[in-house]
Amino acid sequence: MPERDEALYQEAIEDIRNLKKQRSSQLYLVWLRFKKNKLAFVGLVMVCIVLLVALLAPILTPYDPYETDPFNRLQPPSRQNWLGTDELGRDVLTRLFYGTRIALLIGVLIVLFEGTIGITLGILSGFFGGVIDNIVMRLVDILRSFPVIILAMAIAGIMGQGIFNVIIAMGIVGWTTYARMVRSKILSIKESDYVEAARSIGESRVSIIIRYILPNALPTAIIMVCIMMPTALIASSTLSFLGVGVMPPTADWGSMISAGRDYLLNAPWISTSAGFAIMFAVLGFNFIGDGFRDALDPTTKRS
């Protein structure tokens, strides 16, 4: 009955076309859920401000972050220098703006670096189990038995200061968090009814990984990246503060706090404004991370 088939097909196509008009895409639904979450939206605005400042730093300020001015040392906030000047007479606000670039660069690179390693190893160990799982998880146990900052300091100490050494030092420790989370997610997906159902209709192993396991593990990975971003920011600032991170002349929030510490009583604006910048960025990313966690979960319906 080919005519009936044709009619069925046309009817179905028509039905779907009508429905698609009224329906919004999955991404749009995620956005709606995200927007409903007030804190997440505030976080988004905060992060956008940070991004804009990083991009427009040279336009926003007339000063150079590295040009010293010995006659204007430790000036309090004024009309010329909104946040005052530091111990070498550099404009604090300008250095704060340029520090945004370093902070974002390091944050993103750390997250990318540790995320790539951690998610890959987490998938491998969760899916294949056995020997691979044992090796990866014991490595995680060993790395996690050290205090993160101490280990990163040791690594940075061995390799010397510099942006890329900070990234590598943080990544070597940081990936363990991703690996654990992704692994446990994959283990729970592997035991789920829908994977068993996929086996019962004859899906191959490769197809089960690509079509069933990975799409369901993806939100966990995205959320992890968003939540780990502030951790990476704080950790890199801590390293700079301790003097094993970004090299001193570079405008960096962590080293600014560290440098301002000696003048905390007579020029408190140096350390506090850098501390506030870190808090602002970290808070923004945290709010976004929480918002993503809620928005990406398809089981939480729009209510």
Binding site: A12, D15, N216
Partner: protein
């Protein structure tokens, strides 16, 4: 070897635990004829689900044989298991967890068709999916929906449609209605019945719900602690169960008459652990008729005059 269409012989599935083997299914034999509805009833944890998953070869059998149309499938190779997947399919208890939350209904139903090369182009696939949806009383527009946009009953109908998509001969139904509202249960059962007639299917229900088994099955089995204790025609067993466990289980069903008192509990005590099964008859610690022989000797399923089989020393 056997004339039955699906025949299971002495099938066992043991899981290794730190305390010793867990006998989830222990030496079970049963026969299903083509076109029948077979109902397997038993309390949760008695091994019903493990049994059907072993027959479906989603779990490796520990020992025993399974014949489908006279062909041994318990030791079938990977390639022949793939072919088996077209003949036997499974509907899960909970439609909320058996559908991939990241797949639309279209993809969920297209996968079995594409995996087995049943349809080759997009148009044929779409037509086949619309047919399956219509058979399950759904509309073509449901195709582009995600599971979380559907109600429990709709999800279960999608899950049934997926099981039917491969064009199976037998469908295993693992408590297909117990996760659904009562009002939806009847609808699902009616749709299942309709599909059975249209596609000449064989059904294998498992449930803890005796009333469901009473309504849907022609033949039935009662399972306790990994073993079949009574098998036969549903009408015969329902009228008068022989095995003391079956008697107790059926008596435990409350009567819908409010004037009647709640039934007296014949089954006392707890189900023993399947790791440490009692000696002899596994039911003897809870059985009101236990005597010496029950503690020492494992009873076998013996055929009675009316055609049923009972594994109890009382009837041997």
């Amino acid at each position: 070897m056997s004339e039955s269409w699906l025949s299971v012989k002495n099938l066992s599935k043991h899981f290794d635990t730190s305390k010793g083997p867990l006998k989830a299914v222990d030496s079970v034999s049963l026969d299903v004829n083509k076109g029948d509805s077979y109902g397997l009833v038993g309390e949760s944890g008695c091994g019903k689900s493990t049994l059907i998953r072993t027959i479906l070869r989603l779990l490796e059998p520990t020992s025993g044989e399974i014949f489908l149309e006279g062909r041994e499938i318990a030791k079938a190779s990977r390639q022949s298991i793939r072919n088996l997947r077209r003949k036997m399919s499974l509907v899960f208890q909970s439609p909320h967890s058996s559908l991939n939350p990241r797949m639309t209904v279209y993809d969920t139903l297209a996968r079995p068709l594409l995996v087995h090369g049943i349809t080759r182009n997009k148009k044929d696939t779409t037509i086949e999916i619309v047919r399956l949806l219509k058979l399950m009383g759904l509309q073509a527009e449901h195709m582009i929906r995600y599971p979380h946009e559907l109600s429990g009953g709709q999800k279960q109908r999608i899950a049934i449609a997926r099981a039917l998509a491969v064009g199976p001969e037998i469908v295993f139904l693992d408590e297909p209605t117990s996760a659904l509202d009562v009002s939806v249960q009847t609808k699902i059962l009616k749709l299942l019945d309709l599909a059975k007639k249209e596609k000449q299917l064989t059904y294998f229900y498992i449930s803890h719900d005796i009333n469901l088994i009473r309504v849907v099955s022609d033949k039935m089995g009662v399972m306790y602690l990994g073993k079949l204790v009574e098998i036969g025609e549903t009408s015969t067993i329902m009228k008068k169960p022989f095995h003391p466990y079956a008697v107790g289980l059926f008596k435990a069903v409350p009567d819908p008459d409010p004037d009647k008192k709640l039934p007296e509990l014949l089954l006392t005590g707890e189900v023993p652990s399947p790791v440490n099964t009692p000696s002899g008859c596994v039911f003897h610690p809870r059985c009101p008729f236990t005597w010496d022989r029950c503690r020492k000797e494992v009873p076998v399923l013996l055929k009675q005059e009316d055609g049923r089989g009972v594994a109890c020393h009382k009837y041997s």
